[in-house]
Symmetry: C2
Subunit: 392 residues, 2 copies
DNA sequence: AATCAATACTTGACGAAGTTAATTAATACT
DNA sequence: AGTATTAATTAACTTCGTCAAGTATTGATT
């Protein structure tokens, strides 16, 4: 094997290598999402000939994006010539991901396989666009020029924002928590940081990350449900994230589960969010904060526990609706609301099982709180994805 | 232009022509779904060069699948050379479509553009597999060897069955109305009729037909909701029909819309079907038949009218759920239940508008009863599609 | 009438990206 | 050592597209 060409500090003129062929992108994607594999198994998985894999992989190896496993790492015995599995050279390139909330920035540096290498938090006092841009720039500097020097190998930044985002143009059409309308965040952040910027809705970003690197890896279709002040849902169908023709998709929060239920701020009645959204739980529990409600429920207050039970069940019914309508291969439930995981879980499962129809009940349900850094990792994942699959 | 090679009675060795290239299938599909177009406009639509269209179209013209519009039919003036739009030669090939119900077969012959050329109905006394096959064979004979002779140009048969169907293998896993389990209908019907058979779930078949030839034509994503004894929903997303990982998708009937609603035979509570399914309407109205309920409601009986109102609203809520979760470009509502169209429509719209979230409310809703022949046309459409797009 | 600009289509050379078939490589088993 | 077996590579070929240049047919302009 020719030794790798890449010298670490080299220029980034290797873009052409990644865009070389459709097969190159497919190979990288498969290796990133499913770990090291031999060329033959890649060929089978991608529906290519092994010759095509050999050809497409070589330039990626030469450019330092792929490497072969060391002899020692290879798998056990078996007849015939042993495979030389390919692996992504994770440290070949780094990506910054930042999640913007109303009062904080959470940032990470990830390698090519979306493993977190560094973390940073910064409070956000103002939601003025210039102030936020300054904080983003400062955070990028802090992350890239910190104890480990990532700067030379980092060219991309992913931003995750809640609300209505146009990923293609980097435009934030509307963001409730930041009170933004039509902010060209992509362009502005690119100018401020010198990085290529991808902007995406936060739930979609997290869904992408879970689909590529997390619980949804390998699944052709996949749903991620987030529970918090709002109830959100990201969907991947036939391997592609779902956006909705009119820009709306995955709006699980405003599904009706109880026609006679409480009024929702959306104008409807008995929406999942009007039963299980944080502020509605607080109101129904009669406490001042959600933490107080959690404490009381854990202490055994039957009224407050019933509020959580009802909320969990509403979420379960909503998830069953997703399973019945879309039929994803698996569903992950997460979000900051799941800090009260123990109060929700059995009721979510009960609601789901009650209403999932036929084989939809077989859909595995993963209920797991994700730390806030995961959201930032989602932003980085979108950025990685946009690098590996320029189209889409 | 060289005169067309096809002689009508020629052998069917032109399969190779259709499968010639990806572009050929794309051109045919575009012409079938969107009507005659010039090569240049096809090129734009399909993202090809006009040279590619010219090249791929030629063999299709020579084999008689496409023709150029007559000079007289061409569009109006304009600078430059006028276009010679291509059109599908609809009578080049015919397809039989049969919809199987519990007590009747409905059959049609369609041309390549899914226009119905002949219709046939046959009662079904027995659901014994051999008896049904005999009826299918008789119906095919009646349709193909009738006043017009379609036999020479027909090689394919599509069958639509309600229940759990594996299209790829032609297996009917379970069909409630026919009381079938694991019937290899595709193979059996092929042997009996000598035609190439495609078997598909009836709702999916109708969805395909509407997506290609009906209200959903041109839409990238699309939903069809059927109202009858059950409530069904077929979905097309990113141009592909949705099947669901565990074989379940579009199960709109068992969505909860009222957690305190009536019990459903599925075991849940307040499902759409338990409020709007035919038998539940009859029970709630306290009549013996659905026709009696319709008559009474139309006569002004307020109790029965309220039952229809509630049913319509439940359907509307279900449709809103589809719009919120999946975001189709358009939604069609149909099915035999819509014979009572006038009783439902305003309530369906009201339920939809109440619960559709944000831009999802912009999704156009087409509420229209479809005659039973449309279901048979759906079966034919699946057969046409399998001919034009061998893969998928 | 002759020319020109505009648009549609056709042609042939070329190139990208895959394929198949034959070859080489590395292992286990006998 | 020899053979079977699987992995990877190589080289020749195929497919399917693009590009650039040319032809065809019209309306408008000189």
């Amino acid at each position: 094997m020719v030794p790798v060409d890449f010298r670490g500090m080299a220029t980034f003129d290797d873009d052409a290598v990644l865009a070389a062929s459709p097969a190159a992108a497919a190979i990288l994607t498969a290796l990133v999402t499913s770990g090291p594999q031999s060329r033959v198994s890649l060929a089978r998985r991608l529906g290519l000939s092994s010759a095509a894999v050999t050809k497409s992989a070589r330039p990626l190896i030469n450019a330092g994006y792929l490497s072969e496993l060391d002899a020692t790492e290879r798998t056990g015995p078996g007849a015939g010539r042993p495979a030389s599995p390919l692996r992504v050279q994770a440290d070949r390139e780094y990506f910054v991901g930042i999640k913007l909330t109303g009062d904080e920035l959470i940032g990470v540096v990830c390698d090519l396989t979306a493993q977190i290498q560094a973390v940073s938090h910064r409070p956000l006092d103002s939601s003025d666009v210039d102030d936020v841009l300054a904080e983003i720039t400062a955070m990028v500097g802090e992350l890239l020029d910190g104890p480990r020097d990532f700067r030379a190998r980092t060219r991309r930044l992913g931003l995750a924002v809640s609300g209505d985002v146009d990923r293609a143009s980097g435009l934030v059409r509307y963001s409730p928590f930041l009170r933004w309308r039509n902010v060209t965040l992509g362009k502005l952040a690119a100018a401020a940081t010198g990085l290529a910027v991808t902007v995406e809705n936060d739930v979609k970003a997290l869904t992408t990350a879970e689909h590529w690197f997390g619980e949804g890896a390998g699944a052709d279709s996949f749903a991620l449900v987030t529970v918090g002040s709002g109830i959100g849902c990201g969907l991947v169908i036939n391997g592609r994230p779902l956006s909705g023709s009119h820009g709306v998709a995955g709006e699980l929060g405003h599904l009706t589960v109880d026609a006679a239920g409480p009024a929702c701020h959306c104008g409807g009645r008995g929406c999942v969010e009007a039963i299980a959204g944080t502020s509605y739980i607080v109101a129904a529990a009669g406490t001042r904060t959600i933490d107080e409600a959690v404490t009381r429920a854990r202490a055994g207050d039957p009224t407050v526990a019933a509020v959580f039970a009802r909320a969990g069940e509403a979420i379960g019914l909503g998830i069953a609706a997703v399973a019945n309508l879309v039929g994803p291969a698996r569903i992950v439930v997460s979000g900051e609301g799941l800090a009260a995981y123990d109060l929700f879980e059995p009721h979510i499962r009960a609601g789901f099982e009650r209403q999932a129809f036929g084989a939809a009940a077989d859909c595995p349900l993963v209920i797991r709180p994700l730390p806030f850094e995961e959201w930032a990792r989602g932003a980085a994942a979108v950025s990685i994805q946009s690098r590996l699959v320029p189209l889409a």
